[in-house]
């Protein structure tokens, strides 16, 4: 087993007729993902890569039995399409697009929580379970099957870690992109819990970055709930200060959000802190991961 994606996952691609949606559909199919159809309003009846295209998500669900959806919908339409998808009863939604208004993301998060729908993103490369399938844009060549779980706030850093591990023949069970936005639809501890409960994952790598308090909350969760070995890397130690959230943000978070605060929280929780991505090899060796 892997987390999130499994043999019962039947995926639709929203925005399938777009340039990106159609190419990514091809790549997801090539990787063995069970894609059952697509949705683009007004393009119902067409086919893409041999898959049926529907106007509405509920039609797609009814006709294909889909239970998961990956979004390549233009940012300004994502909120509406997301609510539609939740209402249609889809269990897992991956929001790849970036530049979703954060006030929309708050509404999406709230709605998904209310209805018990699991959603990742926005601005996520998606999920990839090597050898099983992928929902999103992760470039398949960098991944290898194995027993290490990776969860990353940054899309490209998840590729970097998978690439480094794969080069040393250390495979991954599932690689999850949380999404890089300030408000994401699923927080870090929820993913960690899935990895902890996954029989096919032996250890977990958390790829974080400065800003927000996902890592601090995760550290707290790990200290109380996790037994598997965990390594973490926080990007941004030497980075120019990014977007400043003003006083209110700084006040609310206190020391949360800083590199030092995150590192300290992880160390307290017994998490191995990696100073650089390439150090993951030594950690994997120490824990005999493969």
């Amino acid at each position: 087993m892997s987390i999130l994606l499994n043999d019962d996952t039947r995926v639709i691609v929203q925005g399938i007729t777009g340039k990106i949606g159609s190419v990514q559909t091809k790549w997801m199919l090539e990787y063995g993902t069970k894609i059952v159809g697509g949705v683009t309003p007004g393009k119902g009846g067409q086919t893409v890569e041999g898959l049926p295209v529907f106007n509405y998500v509920d039609d797609a669900v009814k006709e294909t039995g889909a239970n998961a959806s990956v979004f390549f919908v233009p940012a300004i339409f994502v909120l509406d399409a997301f609510l539609e998808t939740v209402d249609a009863g889809i269990d897992l939604i991956v929001i790849v697009p970036e530049h979703i208004p954060v006030h929309d993301a708050m509404k999406m998060r709230d709605y998904a929580k209310d209805k018990g729908t699991l959603a990742l993103g926005p601005t996520t490369p998606g999920i990839l379970s090597p050898g099983k399938g992928k929902m999103g844009i992760m470039p398949a060549s960098l991944f290898a099957p194995g027993r290490v779980g990776v969860i990353s706030r940054s899309g490209t850093l998840s590729y970097e870690f998978a690439g480094i591990l794969s080069e040393k023949n250390i495979g991954q069970s599932t690689v999850v992109g949380m999404g890089a936005d300030p408000v994401v639809l699923c927080n870090l501890p929820e993913i960690l819990e899935m990895f902890e409960n996954d029989a096919d994952t032996d250890a977990v790598i958390i790829v974080g970055e400065v800003g927000g308090e996902q890592e601090e909350k995760a550290a707290d969760f790990i200290a109380h709930n996790m037994k598997k070995p965990i390594a973490s890397y926080i990007a941004g130690r030497f980075s120019p200060q990014g977007k400043k959230m003003g006083h209110a943000g700084a006040i609310v978070r206190g020391s949360a959000g800083t590199y030092d605060g995150k590192i300290e929280a992880f160390k307290k929780a017994g998490v191995t802190v990696l100073e650089s991505p390439v150090h993951v090899n030594a950690w994997a060796e120490k824990h005999h991961l493969r």
């Binding site: 990106i20 940012a75 708050m106 509404k107 998060r109 470039p139 960098l142 490209t156 006083h247 006040i251």
Partner: protein, 377 residues
Amino acid sequence: MRLHEYEGAAIFEKFGIPVPRRGVVRTVEGALRIADEIGFPVVLKSQVLVGGRGLAGGIKTAESSDELEKSADDLLNMEIKGLPVKELMISERVKIAKELYMGITIDGYSGKPVAVVSTEGGVLIEETAKHSPEKIASVKIDPKLGFYPYQAQKLLRQLGLAPKPLTACSDILVRLYKVFEKYEAIIVEINPLVILENGGLMAVDAVLEIDDSALFRLKKSLSLPTDNRLGNSLENKGKEIGVTYVDLDGDIGLISSGAGLGMASMDIIGNKLNPANFLETGGGITADLLYKCMELILMKDLKAIFINIYGGINPIHEGAKGIVKYIKDHHLTLPIVAKALGNHQEETWEILRSGGVHVVTQAATETAVDKLIDLLK
């Protein structure tokens, strides 16, 4: 997009929040005219989009025309954190009994707006947060329900204010939330919110930062210019072509796909080399975009270029074509190291090599940084 104080104040005023009488000027003569209208004493405030302008000397007061003339002239010839002061807000100087703080931002982890208030307004509010957390109160807001006076009062009661200012403050905080909601703000802030000697309240500063991703639907209600609002012209140019560009002091050009990978690159470069910038392409690399990125980073004098990209959304050889086209168009000879992985990577490497780029095919960014250091020896 962060608004100027005078732009924020105009919006606050429209939403019924009391703000000082004021005017915005670009000349000393303008300043004198406004001051005549509102009467001395006045405050002169530099309108630059950086924090800490007060501590940097960007705010002055004037009791008389002479004093105003001199101060205005000083400020209009000043730079604050590298930004020239082009506009001044001249506003009435109010009689302050007490300075409070109120702000609304987004709590990313819960995904909800959060209102923050404090009895200790002023420039040192972040210090207060660290050392006297009891003087600060905050509450998360359910955006579905909105924010009502009773909730604002419940929050403000924690500060131990007297009933009259408490009610007036809660009224302002509810209005501030309406601004936050209507303008899809990342942050709205009044610091200080002043209790006047006469008991009234006044918002003496106005911070309003709007979510850039929401501008498409706000442009109509904003009716403000949305371009070129960053202090640095290269950063504005980055925004124009759709990438995040941060200007730095060094001499190595840095292009990365993704903020995380960019930050990791900076971390790994550490003190070994000095980046001239931080350019993060976001998703969707195309030939055209990378051509423009090259153009942008080469507006500075560079010793070498470091490219660290992954192809996810688009096949990565498209981006490579843009880089090589730029190299050939401009007969570029300075050393370029590129780590480029993802879909169509072999093709990508071939294209990059055809432009004389030193290609690294391993995943670890260290390898690429080592290669660059080697080349610069």
